[in-house]
Amino acid sequence: MESFILWIMAILLAPFFSGVILKVKAFFGGKKGPPVLINYYTLIKLFQKGSVYSTSTTVVFKLGPVVSLCAAVIALMFLPIAGRQPLLSFNGDVIFVLYLLGLGRFFTIAAAMDTASPFEGMGAAREAYFPIICEATMFMILVLFVKLTGSLSLSAYFAGSSPMEIWHAAGPQMVFVIIALFIVLLTENARVPVDDPATHLELTMIHEVMVLDHSGPDFALIELGAFYKLFFYATMVAGLVFPFDLGSPIAGFGLFWLSLLIIYKVVGVTESVMARYRMDLVPKFILTSFALAFFAAIITLEFIQ
């Protein structure tokens, strides 16, 4: 029951947290910024609209938003929120969840290719390329975690006192892992310095350009999916940065939502203090995350027996 309530809360609150990023960026830009609930207003607006479909598209195009949203929602079911047991869990669910998100991406790419627009094709090519490196990073981190916990399940890494135990076992390496995971978060969620979610320039976009042809409720589903995906990664980072198990559930919840807020704010600050990288430098940036994760794994395998 508790897990179910937390999952519902995640579903309901994810758009709010994404609004926080906008607020932080507005603060750095010397602006008031949109209201913090802006994403809810946008979603309501989009759901009230109709969708426009190009005559050149097929059912794949309509499938894209649905599948990517479902993938993200199901991924959240496997995620230990606030250090509690997730709704679903089995040994090996990490790999299942990673490829579930991969499935969502596959359908987004397929929908983009379905429009036959040169812009979307370009975006799809970029979207297909960069996550390959992210996947390498994620598996390196996984190797490390399996070594430390002996389990292939998200709940074994992020629920209860396990984050603290991981820290005790491999504290210094955790710093690398957190940075690597944060880079993956920025890449997977199309944030600066990898992608710019705010630009109107199709030629520079990665993720945004793939969803240009989606409108109304379809676009709302895509937006929702993006919020959940960001929530998924942010929760993992938060769990590692604040591994404390405070005992009392109330204090635990408080700490969790606060830490999540901090992670989102850090994303906002990152976006505000730097420009995005040139497209050909992005793979190098993502490779940095792999190098860090690889290094952390090597150290662990070598010294912790």
């Binding site: 830009g29 010397g30 040169p118 600066v192 705010a198 109107h200 320039l201 030629l203 995005r276 040139r278």
Partner: protein
Amino acid sequence: MKTGFLQIRHSRPVDRNRIPDLSFDEFRKQAMEIVKNKGKVVHFFAYEENKAIRLMAVLRTDHLLHVAGCKAPESYPSMSRECEPFHMFEREIAEQYGIRPEGHPWLRMVRYHPNCQDRPDVFGNDYTKDIPGNYDYYSVQGEEIHEVAVGPVHAGVIEPGHFRFNCIGERVLNLEIQLGYQHRGVENLLQTADPKRLPILAENIAGDTTIGHALCMAQAMEAIAGMETDQGAGIIRTIALELERLANHTGDLGALSGDVAFLPPANYCGRMRGDFLNLSLLICGNRFGKGLVRPGGVRFSIDGEMNKNLINRLGELKNQMINVIDLLLISTPSVRSRFEDCGKVGKTDAEYLGLVGPAGRASGIPYDVRRVFPTEQYGKLNIPEHAEHTGDVYARAKIRADEVIQSIDIILSLLTGPIASKEVPAAVPALQPSAFAVSLNEAWRGEVSHCLLTDADGRILRYKVKDPSFHNWNGLSMALRNTGISDFPLNNKSFNLSYCGFDL
């Protein structure tokens, strides 16, 4: 250097009977001689007089202008092969008068309209059909080549233009720019409209260069009508032109920052652009300076209180600009890594294409009309020679940033007290018959120039407008060669050329 071309001064009346009337072969030979000795093209156009079509060229060398005319042949050997800056002018003449430049390297329509002579169309277009008609794009063949077409309708609120990229992966091999979507027939209108409307039409050739074009028209009219302006008018015109430069450069620096997703300077510059526009509003009641410059002078004076107000506001803005420029161009490494080495146009290429204005100065061509052909107060201001040498986006941004600070200093040095100017006469100035004048000004994009020819009755025979964008669009194509396609918006903004100034 002795040539068959007549040496003239800018913004001075010239009796058209004194302009050499050469044979075409002689005209071409002399023109080529001038451009080979570092001459550049200011104007090259055709006009009709007494049922005959004639060509006229205005060229510039260091501090000198040269003009000559000739009778237009049915077709002629293209000059673009020997001097690239003729390229666009030859296409324009072919479109407007149906005269074919033989052997032109890229003979395509410029703006998509029939010629005014009922001659057979050079491009074989059927103008009853919609734009873009019969246009054969440059194409690249190969397995991995893909073409991206952008525009004419864009995602942002910008003017229409079509960009065709030939890419291999993320790398651009060639960019072709096809414009003409905003052709309004400005030159034709200027020749036929009620003379009272002329200054208003000039102000609307390109909205962001209102003062630049209005000033060129005023100076050309004043030259031919023999009108003198007082010193106060000269100072206010100079201030207005610099304010226009400030607003546009500031806005573009902000947009450059926004294009690399670095928001703080984008927001600050957006606000400050508004502040600079509001200074124009303070002077003349219009943020773009519309209604300020008229042949004979200016319509508004600056009184003591406004003078103090302007000095205060500019002083504040100067400090803020220095901080923002530091944040954008110096202290943020991630921005520098985006700007540096992006979209390079070397000096050789820039000279070859004949780039003008900040785009030229970023590639090492120090030409600045304010220094070389000073008008109004510029002769007294000692404008320094300024150029960057890398020719990349960083250089273009740096030139603009330097000019922002320079322009603020120029305005502050001119605001010494109340500036009074006598009222502009309401009557339409009477133009001398058979006269010619060419006026040049350094607007924020570079050399704006207007050419005015009157007929034997003192009516306007030909009014030729040239916006700096006419020279610079090919520079943007050059910058994109071998650059990532995702850097196109950044390069485009660093040039920020005018569509309507080109389309006329």
